[in-house]
Amino acid sequence: MAYQAHLQVWRGDADSGELRDYTVEANEGEVVLDLLHRLQATQCPDLAVRWNCKAGKCGSCSAEVNGRPRLTCMTRMSVFAEGETITVTPMRTFPVIKDLVCDVSYNYVKAREVPSFTPPEGLEPGEYRMQQVDVQRSQEFRKCIECFLCQDTCHVIRDHEENKESFSGPRFLMRVAELEMHPLDSYEEAGGNRAEEARGEHGLGMCNITKCCTDVCPEHIQITDNSLIPLKERVADQRYDPITRFFRRKKD
């Protein structure tokens, strides 16, 4: 049944902005993004909202709903009481361009800093052969839709802008873990060391594993347990554990 929902939407740009109140019709089965679109269509034609698939797979409509980092297309109106005021703000960690649209280029800079997959020498694409059991850990991380909600909620950069230079955030540490665990990655043979780079260039030590990245992931990737902690353990193997360092063999 339709009802009038109360919305507070952040309107503004990089210089100034404020929360503004709106009343928008909500129908059964709708999500927050539907209301933002109705608001745009009926009251605020200049409202800036980034969106694309409306199916939780493109990662475009990331915002904060009642203070929690969410995909607006996957946040059902039925989880709120009818009289409740729903606050929608842009992601707090990134510079805002306009209204709910952020400049997420920080993430693209960090993405470029992760050396790409390095296949074994002499192996051409199409010749890769792997056991499913070996590659399945890395495949979990391939579910990432790059909505950057994990980056948004991570307090290391959310509360400390100065850390952005030295910390790549959970999304890209997960990317390092994905490649570090990959059965065919030969980066180490090529002279690299992904675990050491995770510690050094990507700032893994800044992560204090408070699991907010895992909590907000719309793909339910176990970012902390399956990528960040295993990566920390691999760093401990190489750097802080003289026993495993002494017995360290070529990666198997």
Partner: protein, 264 residues
Amino acid sequence: MSAPTTRAGRARTSARTLRTDRWWLPPLVTFVGLSLFVIYGLVRTFMNQWYWAPEYHYLAPFYSPCLSTSCVPGASHLFDVPLPGWFPPPIIVLPFVLGFRLTCYYYRKAYYRSFWASPPACAVTEPHSRYTGESRFPLILQNAHRYFFYPALLVAAVLTYDTVIAFHGVGGGVGVGLGTVLMLINAVLLWAYTLSCHSCRHLVGGRINHFSRHPVRYWMWTQVTKLNGRHMMLAWASLISVAVVDLYVMLVAGGVFPDLRLIN
């Protein structure tokens, strides 16, 4: 002092958080729970009595293994370290046991959130102006977690031995009391917590990239992974069970009430 939330270019909002749920409740519960355990542990350690109930062969977990010459007869294990009588025996072992919990990946999350508010909850601004995480001393020492894992295995083995001797009947033979049952539950929970540790998961198989070449280690890794998914629950359950068993043995050893015997 609050870290500014209005960095250059970011959306300006004055509120520390716009969350409307009771985000403060889980860290508060954690704070109270862990504080109660620490206070109980401190009091119990320096109490230095009522840890051995000779008629039932119950040894309080806080005093196990009892490695001091000052341990009451029957309570000591394997070898005795010559220490003055006023020196509480738990001080020899507790640093390892507490170190294991203190550096545990779950407890780190718990106390960073509840004691240090870093952050108090997800998407709630933390009250610190500077943050270096675990990249500097002293928190860089958290990387030594695996070195506390090995002694924790030994302690779990000793508590298992304590549980076995708790099946001693009053006056000989086999017997089971409420204390025996509690000690058995405690030993199971301690093993489950210890083996579900993230370092254990890494050491048994997580560090290898080709599971297909190591089927036994892969099998062990899958088993530890199953337990690891319940690490938080096991952390709390084993913490509570240690305190409950310790309290029960203290009350029985102190003569407050006799053990409730189920068999014998």
